[in-house]
Subunit: 515 residues, 2 copies
């Protein structure tokens, strides 16, 4: 079996389709043109309001074997995916490909529809139970394909994935299809993930629980691309966008990691006037951001921009003037949504703007540094964010690949141990992001510098920071807990991990046994 550029065996075809193996972070030169949706027209006075979601589905022409798409901007509060798939099941539609940007624990009831053959394929991130379920093998007709935020935009824009019917949840929409996620009682933040779906799908249905008179502004989704508007009781619960620990960590280990991470970028000279950064929404990242804010204020410097996933912590930096502009692809709390409504320097962006490989440049390419997490890292600096060390496919890629590929200094923050499982491995269980785009790995035991960046090693040593090799930190962790068990994989592929350019960087195989 051919081996790709990170040493993973990748079959030549998967589900009968040819596979392009990963050949390096920037090896692919795209060919051809962007695709567009079908040309349609309408007359003044023609209405779009469907009497019900069920009727909208009927009128869409959705049939067996087709592909339906969704955004995940309500995260664990989404209520649209299930309503649509339940209705499809009731209508007897089957063999669907579910092309959601991401699934969350709230989507567990989809298992039933997989069992019944309503859903036979999934492309998109699976955070939690659906991932765990498909990890068991034999559940889907084709292995699920996981893409980064930028990778999904690219796949639609270049025609790799054709969407038959796009369903777009909106917290505000007008009867002509203009829709956004920043107004209304259930505002969830920008719904710009679905912009490319609206441009390219054969049929587009906006679904809202808050129909307002024309025109709904801003029209994140534009009327000209929308076939139908359907009203339901609730498209999503904004409480669900606050997932995980959206709070600055109090764990001494994580606080130490956060502090080391900020010290590292300071040592690299990146805390300076006009700087730029992305920090995630996990507890360690938020702690790092708080430390960073203090350091910036002390130094009297301002960031030209920061990229969200946005939380109240980043909004506070915007309000204080520490950050001049937020480029925001996703809101993680109500304060972020409120800021999007009112502050013109809080700029919503699409995943294309954020991260498209097939573009003349994206926002992540302009980042000075980024703090990213991971479930595992290996001695080649490859990072896994998709599977746990038990081989279960439990997380999506998010923007991990996109940010790591773009930022001048990509900092992975993670503890060397979670419970009694060591996080630095000889080889990661799954390669999500290749070591070539990772610069620093910061743990509670020190900072490992990728040998590709001797400049950074020099900076960090000069600043007296604890530079360690991954091997050293791995050994220290293993002295406490041993190597940990490793799964033994069978042949069945239960997940395909695309690199952001559409090549396959790894596959997830079914766990057969333990060693």
């Amino acid at each position: 079996m051919p081996v790709n550029a990170v040493g993973r065996e990748i079959p030549e075809t998967i589900a009968g389709k040819p596979v392009r193996p990963f050949q390096g972070a920037f090896a692919t030169v795209p060919q051809g043109h962007r695709v567009g949706g079908p040309l349609k027209t309408t007359r003044p006075g023609a209405g779009k309001l469907a009497p019900s979601l069920e009727e909208a589905i009927r009128r869409s022409g959705l049939a067996d074997g087709m592909t339906i798409s969704f955004h995940h901007c309500f995260r664990d509060g989404d209520k649209l995916v299930l309503q649509v798939v339940d209705t499809c099941a009731r209508l007897g539609i089957k063999d669907l490909r579910l092309f959601a940007t991401a699934l969350f624990p709230c989507h567990e009831p989809l298992v039933r529809h997989i069992q019944d053959g309503v859903l036979t394929r999934i492309e998109g991130s699976m955070n939690g139970p659906i991932g765990a379920y498909v990890s068991q093998g034999g559940k889907l007709k084709e292995p699920p394909v996981l893409r980064s935020h930028g990778g999904r935009w690219r796949a639609v824009a270049c025609g790799e994935v054709k969407i038959d019917v796009a369903f777009i949840a909106a917290s505000e929409a007008d009867p002509y299809g203009n829709a956004n996620g920043i107004h209304g009682p259930n505002a969830c933040g920008p719904i710009s993930f679905s912009v490319i779906d609206s441009w390219c799908a054969d049929h587009v249905v906006v679904v809202t629980d808050n129909l307002v008179p024309y025109p709904a502004v801003p029209p994140t989704i534009e009327q000209g691309y929308v076939d139908q508007v359907a009203v339901v009781d609730q498209v999503g619960d904004p409480a669900g966008i606050v997932t995980g620990t959206l709070r600055v960590t109090r764990s001494p280990t994580e606080l130490r990691i956060a502090k080391l991470a900020v010290d590292a970028v300071a040592a690299a000279g990146l805390i300076r006037e006009g700087m730029s950064f992305q920090a995630g929404a996990g507890g360690t990242s938020l702690a790092a951001q708080e430390i960073l804010a203090r350091k910036m204020a002390e130094a009297g410097v301002h960031a030209a921009f920061a990229i969200g996933g946005t939380t109240k912590y980043l909004v506070a930096m915007l309000k204080e003037g520490l950050v001049r502009t937020i480029l925001d692809g996703q809101a993680f709390d109500g304060e972020a949504v409120e800021s999007l409504r009112t502050n013109p320097q809080h700029q919503p962006i699409t995943p294309g703007f954020y991260a498209d490989y097939n573009s003349l440049g994206c926002a992540t390419y302009m980042l000075d540094f980024a703090f990213l997490g991971g479930t595992e890292v290996d001695l080649a600096f490859n990072v896994n964010v998709n599977t746990h060390s038990d081989g279960q496919l439990l997380h999506g890629i998010g923007g991990h690949q996109d940010v790591a590929a773009g930022a001048r200094v990509t900092v992975i923050t993670m503890p060397t141990l979670r419970g009694r499982v060591p996080m630095i491995r000889d080889q990661v269980t799954t390669v999500t992001t290749p070591g070539e785009v990772i610069d620093l790995v910061v743990t509670e035991r020190g900072i490992a510098v990728n040998p590709r960046r001797p400049d950074l090693a020099e900076d960090l040593r000069r600043a007296g920071l604890p530079v360690r090799t991954l091997e050293e930190m791995k050994a220290a962790a293993e002295r406490l807990v041993g190597k940990g068990k490793s799964p033994i994989f069978g042949d069945e592929i239960v997940g395909v991990i695309q690199w952001r350019d559409g090549t396959v960087i790894d596959v997830v195989r079914k766990v057969e046994d333990w060693a």
Copy 2:
């Protein structure tokens, strides 16, 4: 020669290309898919700043026979078109097709480049001297093609016009190509005319006189579509966006027309809560808008939205709450630009959103009523905005067709005489907009109601308004000045007038003599 649905003889081919004759305002059913630009990629750190506009042109690969595009958002203050074409001439590039949205009197020096063969084809509106020049015949290799705002967007999006190199003037841009027209010392308003150019052109050059640090927000033009950024001394003079009489008229005739126009829409029941309208920026339209504002305030009603071309008069209505939202495709003064910067209910829109025939609905389709001008109207209610009665091609279409096709009540306001020339003709010199989408013609002598709208005639009579036939008003005018001379046309076609769907509604022929 075949005759189209408004009775005009249209050749089967023009310049060797097959012509689709106009068959009715909504007869065309588009086929196929929207097109996209070439897929490209880049790496972090790759720069886009060209050392000069000349070098940007060299690097763009622009060559003989190609098509270059521009927006007209600086209107008569534009300084980019000439800089680019002058440079092309200096570089020895010739036989170019100029695909500007519109040309103005400031572009008169282009005549030299037409004479020298640098420009051999023009598609776009020609307001003033260039139109007058090409009207003489024999100047261009192919007759110019004029499209409405919506028609131009459609033509690019469906692949009818392929742009080789798009030049996009921006009053603010960053080195990565994000660009807008609402910030900077020479802010001109939304530059959204060029959004479709950026999506579809083979090569995109943003040209600015105000380079700012990354990121320029809002990114009306997005980095991912931009190949190069070039800096020049001045892209345009915002004083030039204020063209024509951007002042409420004081002419008693025009004031009477304005008052009658508002009385007419009032009689039709259209001054009511949640109403919507578009009024132009001419003196009569502005007067009508002022009268309308007073009537709305008296009635205690609010407009859901109004569409601009936006002036300070419309901005005042937004500030006073008489208008809840402005959908703005073009700014006509500094107050409009300032409002775009600060008021989230002042929403910039693209020509696609505004007016695309090949879409599932555009903003003009949601209009209750619109006040539009015209140079002539005929007994079939056909309106001419392109030529004068002397046959000279002197004006673009703008949004005339798009608005007339969309609004429930389209009101043409015009005097029956201009100088000693009667404006109501047996047949208009050129059909820009077909009578089937015109509802009322308001002159100083009364209001003519299209026989297709007996409901409106009834409303107006009931309100005691002076309903007259076009024949009556025509006869009254001709009693004063006679019929006026008419040009005798030869065979040479000096202009092609497209309907917004891409069919040909009329051609402009060279004037050979006078009758």
